[in-house]
Amino acid sequence: MAKTMPERRGSAVLGVDAELARKLLHDMLLIRRFEEKAAEAYTLGKVGGFLHLYIGEEAVAVGATSVLRPDDCAISAYREHGHCLAKGADPRRVMAELFGRRDGLSKGKGGSMHLFDRSVNFLGGHAIVGAHLPLAAGAAFAIKYEGRDAVIVCYFGDGAVPQGEFHESLNLAALWKLPVIYLCENNRYAMGTSTDRALAQTEIWKFGQTYGIPSEKVDGMDVLAVREVVGRAVARTRQDKTPSLIEADTYRYRGHSMRDPAGAVYRTKEEVEREKQRDPIVMFRERALRAGVVTEADVRAIEKDVNDRIDEAVAFADASPEPPDEWLFTDIYKED
């Protein structure tokens, strides 16, 4: 066979080996399929309340988690299924929580917005915008107090930036040198309010400069870029206990929640379609295939495994009983 252009292929080009590439693809796809199933379950009435989908933003959670150790912590707001799954929670128990069943992560008492999993150091799902930023600094305070070298990643939306707690947390984390990485998922909207209608400074990463901490912006649709930037922050934080602020430029395809199905009042269809062109899963898959690190057969195997696991999750959640009535009154106060 005649050689034409020397093709640039292989792990060196992609920057990750085959095993990691498959894992990144797998984890992003798992979140995507999980969210699609959750939406379906919502329309069937199996999931109630508010349901906020992470579709379109998968590269942030998966990229960031891929540079963490199991003893590192993560904490998030209410659009947190992806963060919790990426950290290693069992999709079956996450789905059961959405269904309000006894085998849910939080025994069915938390729901979609309050996923917690101590076994993987996931510190929750918090639904008051801005409130978990101090909690993240507090967990970092405890880590430092105990002399450990773990870190915590705190995911939050652009909507938390105008809140006082964002500024209080950045100031205190910087002042006390706490090992926390604040990772803003700037998807350009807080419900229907675009960042330019909410922020005098829309370059969110720049707030980090005000507080004298390393800060940068990253393409949140590029899982490898997220890995690189968050990886740098984690290494620095582990070493010198300095916090970081990272702004990930990302986009949510769906409405704010299932009650905002189209998400069409405050943005155009064209905008949404345009953003879908840089889909994090498609882009990474194509790149990994082109580099020859992942094969078509790998992709098919990943898709099959993800589909199986999501089907299992739904079956598990369906089969899990409702929490018993007595549980209304348990877990209010801890007994010694």
């Binding site: 917690f116 008051i128 409130a131 909690l135 993240a136 405890a142 209080e168 106060y333 010694d336």
Partner: protein, 329 residues
Amino acid sequence: MAVMTYREALNLALREEMRRDPRVFVMGEEVGLYEGAYKVTQGLLKEFGPRRVVDTPIAESGFTGIGIGAAMLGLRPVVEMMTFNFALLALDQIVNSAAKMYYMSGGQFNVPIVIRGPGGPAAQLAAQHSQSMETYFYHVPGLKVVRPTTPMDAKGLLKSAIRDPNPVIFIEAETLYPVKGEVPEDPDFVIPLGRAVVRREGTDVTVIAYMGMMYRAIEVADELAKEGISVELVDPRTLRPMDVETIIGSVRKTHRVVVVEAGAGFAGMGSEISAFVTEHAFDDLDAPVERVTGANAPMPYARNLEKLKTPTKDKIAAAIRRVCNANGS
């Protein structure tokens, strides 16, 4: 036993618990270098150093949230509110984070935090610095709320609060800090949360009060004893969980109840006590439950108006006489 001030009793409780448990640390505005706005944390920075005695800037929501986050990972923060009026800035963290965490995580993350500081009516501090803040907290499932009246209670209850695995709101009083009393020096001495105390036995009427109002009620009881009215004084000490059993036991004995509280009466502690006394002991009552409460007005500055805001001894005595005469005896 040693005689010491309420302030010293709190200080001793903090020292003992910090010596006992390395996870306990103190955090708040002016707690370290300045030694506490009211000197409750005097000497702690010297003994324990800046790792465990943490001065914060003015950011109540931020540092309370940090305390809660640290507690989620197993530390035992004691967060000082310079005065409890400022806890309103941290109300979201206290109500939505601290109180709910254990429940909404399905029992995975408890929050062993104490949030303490002075509250209640002070001397001419006016509307924003002189409020009975307990009402904002005892409504919330997941919180415990303590109001310690004496130096002994201050020590014993603070130690229990620090050892408790749940969030505890511990509201002291500026006016009580210099009050002296007997306090056990034994570091193992604690007073369990959720237990009321009968401060004085009596037979004619149960008066329920705490903090400054209890001291007033004691004086009133002394005076009424001369008229032949025997007053039983009950101090709940912990407002949530409330020791309903002790209160009802006293009502069954005296058949008459007066609740005295400094805060505005509407939907206050007296409302709650009068409701559960009616539910549990209606047939034992010889008179309707009386409430003597703070006026339903903000706290004024002027000395004369300020006096009108909180229950006076005369008002307490009048209520007691009313219930005692209610059935003509």
